[in-house]
């Protein structure tokens, strides 16, 4: 039998205690926080899990020893420290929402932890409705949008393939101006032409093309792909950075430091992400080489294309916190939370995009602030934060 942890209570609890925050916070404070948490790799940084329980907001999952998982929980007091918990230790720590219990169970059974895998699972759980009808609808819409992005990527690859393979002068109509059915016909012919050089059947090339399109779903095939998720996130972060800059100028004494901090890290991250995105798009300049690379080592290419996803993981929540601040807790508390959640850039990022990144100094300068629950002024309760977190799911699905 597990020994009783200090924060576990005995006996019946009152209705109010069922969702109250203080027991959870006091329980967390009895754990030893990790000061100066500086992960060296993105996997060590962990993947954001969109929990709705206030104490777990912004928490990240990462692999631990013996196929277990750990949860990295940002310190609720506003300090730049984290708590690292084994997956099972979260259960007595706080009363998780039903949604989080389902999500937590699903994440624990994941064979491989990636932002894409968590996103897929989170949508599956959200569609069950336990985070509200809005979150369920948003999850379904997001899945549909991703499917459309994959389709767009597929139809983005075909003109490049035709242009590269089709003998010059064979067709007067440029492939990008072709009707969809005619483009497919010409692409099919191009696949037949290139298959022998790749040492495989046309059917195998076609399958590879489908898989490549799926891998490019997040980044899109070319610059300015509006439906792809990664360019959209980068655009959202750039807008966030601009708005935070303006906010910091207007409120230098109040939320200025938090706004500057978030804007600064957002700026660095978007520079890196844009560079990675450009690298990904450059791969489509030579479709034959891309196909050959995919057929030789699909995992390596998938990993490469997933880098922006790792880099930007967690930022959609930060952007959504800002976008929804006015209708929930207000910009001041939102900025405190955003600053607390700003993802550290691990040194691994330098290898990914040869950019010098060091946000730690800025983070250490960050003044500690605490958004208090239960203040008479804000009147914010745990239930409000859960509702707000459920709304965030609608913006980040």
């Amino acid at each position: 039998m597990r020994s009783r942890l200090p924060w576990q209570t005995t006996g019946a609890t009152s209705g109010s205690a069922l969702v109250s925050t203080p027991p959870s916070l006091s329980a967390l404070r009895q754990l030893k926080p990790v000061q100066g948490f500086l992960p060296t790799t993105f996997l060590e940084r962990g993947v954001t899990v969109p929990f709705t329980t206030p104490l777990l907001a912004g928490a990240r999952a990462r692999p631990a020893e013996r196929n277990h998982l750990e949860l990295i929980v940002p310190c609720p007091s506003g300090e730049r420290t984290v708590y690292v918990l084994s997956w099972d230790d979260v259960v007595p720590l706080c009363r998780r929402t039903l949604h989080d219990r389902r999500l937590s169970g699903a994440v624990a059974s994941l064979p491989r932890l990636t932002p894409a895998a968590i996103r897929r699972l989170a949508r599956e759980v959200a569609t069950q409705g336990l985070a509200g009808r809005g979150a369920a609808a948003a999850a379904r819409d997001a899945e549909q949008a991703d499917e459309e992005a994959r389709l767009a990527a597929k139809f983005g690859l075909l003109p490049a393939l035709v242009r590269q393979i089709e003998p010059q002068g064979e067709n007067a109509v440029p492939p990008e101006a072709e009707r969809p059915d005619e483009l497919e016909r010409r692409a099919k012919r191009a696949v037949e032409l290139i298959a022998p050089a790749l040492g495989c059947s046309p059917a195998a090339v076609a399958v590879s093309l489908q898989q490549i399109a799926a891998a490019f779903g997040g980044t899109g095939i070319e610059q300015g792909a509006p439906s792809a998720r990664i360019p959209a996130t980068i655009a959202g972060m750039m807008q966030l950075r601009q708005e935070l800059g303006e906010h910091a100028k207007r409120h230098p004494d109040d939320d200025g430091p938090e706004a500057d901090l978030v804007a600064g890290v957002a700026g660095m991250t978007t520079v890196l992400a844009s560079a990675m995105l450009a690298d990904a798009h450059a791969l489509t300049g030579d479709i034959v080489a891309l196909l050959r690379r995919w057929m030789t080592d699909p995992d390596a290419l998938t990993t490469l294309l997933a880098r922006p996803d790792w880099l930007l993981d967690g930022w959609d929540r930060i952007c959504a916190l800002w976008r929804t601040a006015e209708s929930h807790l207000g910009r001041g508390p939102a900025l405190i939370e955003m600053a607390r959640l700003v993802p550290l850039l691990p040194p691994e990022a330098r290898d990914w995009a040869s950019q010098q990144v060091d946000v730690d100094t800025a983070l250490l300068r960050h003044r500690r602030k605490v958004a208090r629950l239960g203040d008479w002024r804000t009147g914010v309760t745990v239930l409000d934060v859960i509702a707000r977190n459920e709304t965030l799911l609608e913006h980040t699905a």
Binding site: G15, S16, D253, D255, R377
Partner: protein, 418 residues
Amino acid sequence: MSQAAGTPVGAASIAELRTPRHDAPAARDNQVIPMLAVADKLTARRGAGVLIAPPHVRLAEMRSKRPLNLFRLLCTPLDPLIVPGHAWRRGSPGIPRSALGPLGRVVHGILGDTAAGFDAAIAGHTSDEQDVVAEVGARLWPRAAEILATVAMPVDWTIATDLKAGDHATLVPAIAALLAQAVSLRRLAARACSGVEPETDELRTMLEAVVPAGPVALAMMVLLLMASLPHSERLIRLADHLASRQDGPAGRAVVDGAIEFVLDKLEDAPSPGPNVAQATQHIRRAAIMLNDLSSRAAHRPVWRARIERVRRKVDSACRERFAIELDAQLLSPAAWLAGGSELEIATLEATARALRRFETTARQIGSAEHYDMLLRRAAEVLRPTATEDASERIDRIRLMEILRGPDAALALLKAADA
């Protein structure tokens, strides 16, 4: 954050807590907005006062959305102190509403051409636009403080206000001193909102700044700070210390006067009821205030008894109000849960959260077992039925999670899945 005129510092009248809401907010807004529009066009406040008196609480609720004008902007920092003329008592730290019109006219007159600049800066804005209030107020309030610090009593003062000349000598320097501190007070309140409590030295500086304006000014500043800070205990200790150094009994009784003001308001006369969210806000303030005052009244049996009496009254009003609201706002509408639209379900969930906020706050005052019992009963009513589809079942389980917590909801979910 401004409070409604006539709304006490951190306290709802018991009648406000007891009175349930009967109309949908939108419908009530539709009724009140045209009246406010007419009121805003009236130049004579007396006439407007008569017009808007019946929906006064709705007015309080919507005050933050009213068109911004120079007079309203001028009075914003004083809002927590303003009381109806008939309710004002000489020597109390309240400001009779009747005094504000003449003072506003004086300020406007002395501002002269400058007034047009202020009018232009706020034209088309409403009083809930905090950035505009802060920016233009930061220019207006210090200037108004300068004007009022030296102004002579208007000739029509006694006729226009029903006050005496001596009241002018007490009130106006105090108002001037408060307006001089309005920008600092606002900044402090904003920081308190984002979790940064003021340093003791900051509080002391603000209190000492109004001491020359007399004991009433000091009591007023104590009340304004009480209205701006999450807790008052440290402030009260500080004010006590400062008051003990004042000359004369009036100076030393400053904090007592402020506390009397708060307790009076807690037991105030009946008025129409606000909505649940507003009632919760009032209870929260009342609960915190009663706790803060209790600690100060430890050695004052008379005060302890009075605080306890107020607490019991508030508790009784809360229980009564919660039972009515739970049934009217949640359980009755939930009978038609099946087939509800996304918006209807979201509204029902928001109502459940609002009721939980009310209950969580009210149980700090007392009667925890009573609320537990009501919530258990509500949960029984909301239990899923065998004829409902999966979506409706999840809607009910979510309502259960809001009302009774995830463990109770999980038990229901398991039972439903089985």
